[in-house]
Structures are given as structure tokens and as C-alpha cells.
Symmetry: D2
Subunit: 369 residues, 4 copies
């Protein structure tokens, strides 16, 4: 608390928001070098706005990770965490839309000051890297650019800060652990995975029978459709096999552990049970954020192509094509998308035994029933 | 140019964008006073982002006003001006959308630090007032809040800066003068207003005749519809009368001079003639910006209602109801909306004589013809 | 089920979506009358898209109302209801954005076919009125247009359908009843209202003391700020008084009953307790939808002004000014906004007794504790 | 004109918009088969809205192509064409946003009726294919899906309609021809390409000299930066070579002819000359539309991944990965992006001789000067 400040000391908007400091941080390099370019102001402000929002995103992500710190998340924290991730998603949507403002600068306008910026680059945004780390983008999954590690453009101190995020545990790590702790997969005699496998077999059998006895299908169609059912069967079996899963983990094609994946499936299927409603919303938030980051990468690559074309650089790769690749390859929460292929229709879903349903309900409701 | 800087000195993203200064300008007052509120960060960053964008908007508006400085705008400047006003519109759209991020803070969250902010208020944003002035919001049109002049919350210096904007001429002033200079309203024997009045009379007569001889209308309907035509006639006459117009100007119900209004009508009607295409786009930009500022005021009022309700303050008026009123009363370019009621269908439009059409065409095309 | 159809009969996109019927429903009246106007297609399609989305909104609202039919909403239904209201909000946001497409038609373009449309009008959209009714806009709150009841433009049959919505109970009615049934306001010796009043008094007293003993305030400031506290006190007392509330209900200035209002306040204050999390989300959805409808009205009025200006019609009122008024006067869920002024900071909130907290928790969690 | 219809016959909103026909075209297949799924309504309406907008887009694209039919576009048509392409872009933006509404249906909800739809698929949308053809997506550039030609799912009649679009000339074809007709590339002794090449050489030489004599660069840096200049030189030369260009055309890596490309470069560089302002806007519209279609493809692929996961089908390829590939490979106007790499800063741009500048100016202005 600075001297002379207290709850009832008054404060002015300009001072509170440090407007003066804020508005004196735009130094046009084209101006300093004697040839002021009108459009450089936009370039600076767009990037500064990005950095301010990045700070906010980091503020939210760190706070959400903290909720999971104690290996036990309190129910009320989950609703707060969802609120904060929703906010992150909204901020990311704004950042995507903001690219449209950058695009009001035409490539010719950009040339008025582009040469002064060398070699400053968006790759040097520390906060953007920190967001990637906090979300859980694994080091080994990152594309290299000109063969350099992504963090090599930063000071040692900053590199350590990024490393520490991984050491402390990313959001992905924390979510994995939290899912693994789900107590309902094997409770009071109810074995979710066994029930699910049984339902799956029954469903696929019923499907095959219905196809074979259908009056609408020709023999050729029957063959084709029952082969589709067969391939679904193979698919499901491979997914539900723990060894197969662990091999995919080793090959870096999966992120969530086997147990966490099964828990995520359980939450998806029984999402309407009271105690699973917020966990389901939480998982949905993670997918939304992942998609929004991907949208941003896609639009960013598009903007770079528009601005400087697809000229191959001295390093043999263009900025645009590198960026475009990260859009698909730097996705983080793909395992949650994978859950979609494991879902079965509600009508085929194993009913939960009453004692389990009570466990998933509110005290007030369960008691009354 | 700082010492040691030159075109080929290199520069880093962090230094170029003054990231350090930028990211150290968020001082949570709740933190300084011993009770850190998570949500205060959002409050600060949202406002800072607004101020950065305001700086950009001012940068663009000032540059557009400058184009009109010499009483003669060069054709190439008009296309640049349109590009910059389009950008302003896009920024304003982003600012409207940004309100949705502020709304992720719930009223209860806001209470965690609201009391520390007293009496800082958005009314104290100097840049927002500067934008209103640059666009041309007249002093006499402003609602007062608690009976105080809008600029009384600023230092004398800042008040003078605002006054100087009016003295130098607002965008509205410059546009009015530019419209008045339109050379085509009375050129080489072509008198636009006379032609327009003639077409109007012919159109309304034809309309009345068609109604009276229609086989589809009952007598009652004929009476009603021909009365509607009559009232249109009265309306058009009043609008086109210079004395009536000047009286409305005195009563502060109009902003554009009579001559500028007629020019704006001309541009609207013959917008497809080459020399009028960009002027028409320019006028459309002004309407778009005015609408977007209004949208922002509307959404801002809505957000304040959601955040603190409609509690009547000690001054007898609520923040929300004041803000809601400004949405309709602080519109600036309403005269351009008014043009819509003066338009007549293309089929009734007086044809331009060939020598006038040539004047409005490109040299290359006119020469060839 | 049409003859020959079954689960394994195949179906084509074109037939399933009735594309042929859909795409043959755009008859340009300007074309039929011999003078095809290019822009009329946009006019028709924009309105048809609106009507398709209206059908979807009605589909969702009716299903949500149904959940409340049995005077007992099942917990799992609440999460489904929230999902559907979220969808309604997203559709409304799209409808607001869609106005920008209509605005690509300029006023002059509209004149090419406007005269053919008389007297068809958006006022004649039955589905839009049905949505207003389903949400709960009370008949007595509606502005009249030229003195006519809003439903007079419809056939008797359709008028009856609208009346039946009110008879069956609107979403507002159902929500009011549901809130009144909240069991936790007076449970096992816990009296929420008494606790809340006590906390309020303590908070305001503490505030006054802090002001009077502050070293940062002048005497004049102390007087002003303690008067503000006093006026807050008066305000809270009036709101919490049942008779005052009932009088406001009679004057049509409130919609929710006293009991429902207190329940909404309780849910807002203790939203993080597990059993209140979804009810809080549900109320937030209602506010969001109300705001989005208002945004649509505002933008619609703005578009009409742009398109046809503010010409006063024979009835003495302009389309634009009528529409602009409905934006503020046809809001439905204003009582929920009012809750914001009743909130008190978390630090002042009465702690819930353990036995009450258990009641609000999950069975699994409460049992463990 | 139907019997009894005339300008002064009146018309009702419901009849004009064929609301009854429109709202009876949603037949839930799940309902017809005895097991109504609430969410199927959304599925139908989302797709029907898409088809209505597609009809509008086709209406606009066809009208724009028509403007170019006569091998001579009238200046006023260009401004109308730009207005219509702007509208197409806005519609596409809405369609992108609309995907967010589809995503409110969760994968589990989709399973409630998914099996009934087989084998109907979005691939069967005829209008979407028509839009791709009208824009100019070449047959040979299309990805095949399970080895089938994209149009094989349609009737012979419809296949012919698509073929006819190519025969009549796509928008890309028309634009190419129009660019080739640009008269200013070689006019009255001014040879644009020669001037441009000269400026390029001068610029690169100046750049190299500045680098070599810089006091800020180390020897290593000087070497690296002058190599970059050298590679730019090579790049420019290859692009500006007609034979190289024609080879790329043959390899299907270019779409625009050499002459059209040079014209597009000229328009980009001298866009502020009055006669080039609208052509520049027109080209920008094409880039915007191309980007927006790409955004739609990207978001659509993302939505499919979310809905059904990345399960490999019997054909060996997943729906998602096919769709994701089209996002990058089905872009049409990439040659215009390529122009960006050919631009040179305004300060290096060859000045146009006065007689040329007059040719590019308005008659009124040129005459006065």
C-alpha cells in the first residue's frame, strides 16, 4: 500500500488505470528513424492489446490450476473454474476477431515500416508461450522453426519460468489427475467398464440383426452396412484396451492416461446426474478453449499469408506454412474429441443402480427419495 | 531517435512493444489495500484495452480531419480516409463485443473491490470525450450529469485540449464544408434541385392517379392511400425549404447546412457515377460509425444495469438511465439518416444530361466516349 | 411414417431437408408485377431465415416450459433446460448479427420494390409474437401501435393460440412458481431473510463508522458519503418490505412475487453451493436472453431508421420511434437485474450453518464429511 | 403475375413470405420412425438456413458474373458488384458463426437420431457445389472422396448444370479476362513492367549498400542480410518471368494468366489513382470471400471432429481429415495473395508520368488541372 492510501482515500480514473504510462508506451520506430508511418501505430497497439489480454488469460489459467493443487477440488471451486475458463474462451474469441482489424492494414501499408522491425517477431512473445505451457502443450509436440527450440529466443530467466510451468504441472496434467480420482467408476459393486462393454456388444449385435433382417436393404447393402458395424466393433475394442492405450501414450498419440480417459467417458455418458453436471461443463470448456486457440492460429496464418505472401525464406520455410501447420499440430485436448467416437446412444446406455444414482445426486434430493 | 539506433540496429519484440512497461501498469487496489480480489485484474485490463483502442481511434480521426484541412481534398486521400474510417468502425465493433467479456464478471464478484474505486468513473476517460468531440458531438446537445459540464472532471489543460478540437473544426464541420463545395449541383445549365422537385411532383401525381384508378382498392382504401401521398408531398416540401431548414438548425434539430444537405442528397441519388462513388462510401462510413458508437452506448448501459442494478443515486438519477439516454440523444450524424426519407426510386430519377455525366466520369472513359 | 420408410430405408439430403419445397418458396413480387428487382430476393430470404430460427426458438422454449409443468423439476432437466436456453441465446445473437446483412441493402435499393409490399409488415410475424408470449411479455406492458392490440392483425385462430400461451403459463410464470418452491429459505431453524437483514444492518453501520473515523476524508466528504450509506439503507428497507413489493406488483412495476424475489436473491448470494449452481446458471440464461432480445429490438429500430428515415406517418408516429421504444419497454426479466442492487459483498455474507450447507451439497460429499 | 394481383392489391406478410410452406418443411425422421428426438429439429433447421443463404449467394454471384459478360464492364457496375460481393462476404461470416449453434448439440444428443439419416450427407448439397463452381474452383484441384468425382452424387441434370457453369465462365475466368484488358500497362510510352523492374533493381542495390556500410551490423549479420536481399532478387526475377509463370500454370500452381497477374500488381501498387480505386476494392473482395470460405471449411471440419470424433471409416479416411484438407487445398484466389510478395514500398515506386496520371483521374479533375 503506497503511503497515504486507504480505502477512503479517493482515486481518479487516470491514476488508477495508469493511463499516462499506458499511453506513452507507443514509440513509432519509423518516427524515431525520421520517416513516420501512419500505420505503425496500429501495428503497435494491436500487439499491445494482445499482450494485455494474454496477461489476463494467464491470470485466469494460473488461478484454475491452483484450484487443483491440493489433490482435492472443492465443489464450489469447480463452478468458479468454469466461469474463468468461459472467460478465457470469450477473450480468445475476441482475439480471433481482432485479426480482422490488423487486416485493415494492407500489405503495401505494411511495407512503409516493415524493414525497421527486423528481427522482432511474434515468436518472441513470452506470454503467448506461457499460455501454451499452462494449457499443457508438450515440448515434444512442438514444431521446430529453423531447427531451434521455441524458447531459445528468451533469456535464461524466462526459459526457466517456462520450464517451471511444466514442473509444477500444467492444466492438462492437473485435469488428468483429477479425472483419475473419479470415485464412481468402480463403486459399491458397480463396474462401469464392464457394463459399458456389455452394452456395446449388445448394441452392435442388435444392429447387425436389424440390418440382416431389413426389408429395405439389398444384399450388397446389407453386406456393406454389417461390415461397418464390424469395423466399429474392432475400433471400440482397440480403444478400450489398456495396453493399446499405453502404447499410444508412448508414441505421443495420446495425452490422457487410460484411467482418466475412462473417467471422461463416464462423465460424458452420465452427464445429467447432478454430481457430473459441472465436470461435464468443465471438460466442454477445455475443448472450447482448444478449438479457439486453433481458430486463432488458423486466422493468424491466413493474415500472414495476406500480408507478406508465401515467399520462401532463406531457411527454406515460409512463415505462413509454419503457422498453418501449428494450427492442426499444436492442439492439446484432442483426447477429449476422441471421446465422441466412444459414445453410445442414451437408449443403449446401462442404467445406473439406485444406490449409485443416489451417490451422484444432491443430499437434499437423495434423502427425500 | 535514441542514441545507437538506426535502421539496421536490431530490435526485440519485448523492447519494441515496451512490454515491460505495459505489463507493470496493473496495480490492484484491492491488493494494495490488503485484500486482493481476483476479478479486479479483469476490471483494469478491460479499461486499459479500451484506452489503447481509443488512442488508435483518435489517431485515425485526426488524420482524416487533416485531409480536409486545405479546403480541397485530393481524390486519393478520400480512398485512404474511407479505409481509416472503416478501421474505426471495426475497432468500435470490437469494443462492443468486448462488453461481453466484462459481463463475465458477476455483480457479486464486482462487490469484492467496488468500494475501493470511489469515485473513479468511466466519466473520467479523457480519450472517450476527445473522440466525441472529434466526431462532432455538439456541446449543447450533451446531457448533463448531476448538472455538471462533461469536461469539469478534467484539468484545465485537458479542458483546453477538448475546446481546441471544436475550434479547429470537428469531422462533422469539415464534412459539412466539403459537401457545400460540391460543384455539380448547379453546373453548365443543370439545376439539380429544380430537376429533383419536378421529378418529385410528377412521381406523386402519378401515384395519386394510379391509386384513384386502381381496381384493387376500395373507396376507403383509395382515400387513405391518397392521403398518405399528400402527406409525403407536404413532408418533401418542408424539407426542401431553405427557411424551414435554417429554423431547424437554430433549434438544434439539424446539423448540416441546407446546401450540404442538398449535396448529400445528390450524392446518394447518383452514387453510381464514378466521381460520386467514393463520396457515397465516405458518407456511409459516417453513418456506420455513428451507429456503432450508439451500439456501444446501448450495450454499456445494459451492462451497468446488470452489474449494479437501477438503484437511484443521491443525485436523483441512476447511472444506467443516464447512459441509456445518451444512446439515443448523443447521436451525431442523424442528418444523414434523414436523407433516406428524401430518396426517390431510380425509375423516377431525373436523367443527367450527357455533358454532366461526362463531368462525373473518368477522363479515360469520357474521352473514349 | 410414410409408406415404405423404415430405419434402414436410405434417404437423400435433398429429400430429407425438403430442399425443393424450400427453394421454390421465394416469389419476387416485383418479378410477378413485371419489374424484377434484384434486391427483393435478399428481402425475402432474410425474413424466411428469421422465421426458420423463430420456429427453432419456439421449439426450445416450449420444451423448457414443459420441464416445469409438473410442479417439480427433476435435477437432470435443469441442465438440459440450461443447454437449450444457451442455444436460444446463441440463435438470438445470430439474429442480431443478421441485421448487418439486411443493411447491405441501401435505402435506394429498397425503393425499387418497396411499394409492392404494402401493407405487409414485420408486425405480422406470428412466430415473433409467440416468442414474446412464451417468454412472458405481459399484454398490459405492450406498447400499442396506432391504438391497436398487437394480435389484431392475426386470424381468430392464431389469436387464440397466443391467448392459450398465457393461459397455460409462460416461462416467466413457471419460473416464478419454481422459485417460490425453493425449500431453503426457511429450513431447520435457518431464516434467510432475517440473517440477510442482520448482515445488511451490520454492514451499513460498519461502513458509516469507517467513514466517520477516516483520516483521508474531509468533513464535507464524510457527510456526503454517510448520506450515501443512509440512502442505501432506505433503499434496501423498501425493497425488502412485502407490502411495498406487492404495491409495485399491482402497479405493474414488478413481475416476480415477493417470495420468488427473495429466493432469487438467496440463489444469487449462495450460488457456489452445489445445489444452487444450476439454478444460478438458469437465472443468468434468462437475463442473457432478455438482453439479447433487447439488442435485437435496438438494432432493428436502427436499421429501420437507416432504411426509411424518421418520416412521421399518417398515424402520427414513425416506425422507428415505436420500435426504439419497445427496446426499453418490452424487457421482461428486469426483476432479475434488480437483484444486483440487493447483493452484499461475500465478506459480509452470513455463513450458512453446517446442517444447511449439507442440505445444499452432494450426497457423496456430505456423507463423506 | 397471378390472377387478381396488381401493384395496389394488398399482401399479407404470411402469404408474401410463404410462411406456411416454409414452416411445414421440417419433417423429423426420428418422429416418423416412432422415436422423436428433440434435437433433430435443430439439425434440419440449421441445414435449411444454410440452403436459403446459399441461394442468396448464388443469386449474387450470378449477377456479378453477368456484369462481366459483355467484355466491357461499365464503371457503375463495378461499384454495384463490390456491394454484392461485400454482401456475400457478410453472409459467409454469418454462416461461419452459425456453426457455433450447431455445436450446441452435443455428440450424445446427435446419437439420438444419427442412425436414421444414413446415407444423407452434406456432400449432397447441390447449391454448395454450385457456389464452388461459380467462384471458380477448378475440377482438377478438388480432392476426391473415396475416389469419386464430387458431382457423382447428383442426377445427370444437376451434373450438367454444374458443368455449364464452367463452360459459361466462372467468376475467376471473368476476372482474369477483365484484368487482361487493363489498358494502362503499356500506354502512351509508359511501360509499367520495365519501370517496375528498374525500381526493383535500384531498391535491392540500395538495400545491399546500406547493409554493407551499416555501423550497427556485425560482419556475420551483414552477410546474412545481404543474402536475404539476394534471395529476394532471385524470387522477384522468377515471378516476373513469363515462361516460368506459364509453366506454373501448366502444373496447376497458378490460376491467373501472366498478363492478368501483372495487371493485378499494377492495380495494387497504384490503387489510389481514381480509376483504380474500385478495381482494388474488387480484388480485395475476392480475397475476403476466399478467406471466408476457407474459414467456413476450417470450422466445419472442427465441428465434425467434435461431433463424431476422428474414427477412421471403412473407406480408410475420416470425414474430419478430408474436410480439414479441403480448407487449405480448395482455396481459389491464392494468386491474389501471391501479389503481396511482389509489392515494393511506396517510396520506391516509379512515379507515373503526368499524362498517365491524367488518364487515371476523373474528367472533372484532370480538366481543371
Amino acid at each position: 500500500m503506497s503511503k497515504g492510501e486507504g480505502k477512503y482515500s479517493t482515486i481518479h480514473y487516470q491514476k488508477y488505470l495508469q493511463i499516462e504510462e499506458l499511453l506513452s508506451a507507443q514509440q513509432l520506430r519509423s518516427g524515431a528513424l525520421g520517416d513516420p508511418a501512419h500505420e505503425e501505430m496500429l501495428f503497435i497497439i494491436v500487439h499491445q492489446v494482445y499482450e494485455l489480454w494474454f496477461k489476463q488469460v494467464i491470470h485466469e489459467l494460473e488461478s484454475v490450476i491452483e484450484f487443483f493443487e491440493d489433490n482435492e477440488i472443492i465443489e464450489s471451486s469447480l463452478s468458479v473454474a468454469i466461469g474463468r475458463l468461459n472467460r478465457v474462451q470469450k477473450i480468445l474469441q475476441l482475439l480471433v476477431k481482432q485479426i480482422g482489424i490488423m487486416e485493415t492494414m494492407t500489405p503495401l501499408d505494411f511495407l512503409d515500416f516493415r524493414s525497421y522491425l527486423f528481427p522482432a517477431s511474434g515468436f518472441q512473445s513470452f506470454q503467448f508461450r506461457a499460455i501454451e505451457c499452462l494449457l499443457g502443450l508438450p515440448e515434444e509436440q512442438r514444431l521446430t522453426y529453423f531447427g531451434q527450440k521455441y524458447s531459445s529466443v528468451f533469456t535464461k530467466d524466462k526459459q526457466k519460468t517456462l520450464d517451471d510451468i511444466y514442473k509444477k504441472g500444467t492444466l492438462l496434467d492437473k485435469v488428468n489427475d483429477w479425472l483419475e480420482r473419479t470415485p464412481f467408476l468402480n463403486l459399491d459393486g458397480f463396474d462401469f467398464l464392464e457394463e459399458y462393454r456389455g452394452a456395446l456388444t449388445a448394441m452392435l449385435n442388435k444392429e447387425t440383426e436389424a440390418i440382416m433382417s431389413s426389408e429395405y436393404l439389398t444384399d450388397k447393402q446389407k453386406k456393406m452396412r454389417s461390415e461397418m458395424v464390424g469395423s466399429s466393433d474392432t475400433y471400440f475394442r482397440s480403444i478400450l484396451d489398456e495396453d493399446t492405450h499405453n502404447n499410444l501414450l508412448k508414441e505421443n498419440k495420446k495425452r490422457l492416461s487410460y484411467k482418466a480417459t475412462v473417467a471422461a467417458l463416464f462423465i460424458n455418458l452420465y452427464r445429467e446426474e447432478p454430481i457430473l453436471q459441472l465436470p461435464f461443463q468443465f471438460i466442454t470448456c477445455l475443448i472450447d478453449i482448444d478449438n479457439e486457440v486453433t481458430n486463432w492460429r488458423h486466422r493468424h496464418a491466413q493474415m500472414v499469408l495476406r500480408m507478406i505472401g508465401n515467399k520462401i525464406g532463406t531457411g527454406g520455410s515460409s512463415g505462413h506454412s509454419y503457422l498453418a501447420k501449428t494450427a492442426s499440430l499444436h492442439q492439446i485436448y484432442t483426447d477429449f474429441h476422441g471421446i465422441s467416437s466412444l459414445l453410445i446412444p442414451r437408449s443403449e446406455l446401462p442404467l445406473l443402480p439406485d444406490n449409485i444414482r443416489d451417490q451422484l445426486n444432491f443430499y437434499f434430493t437423495a434423502k427425500k427419495a
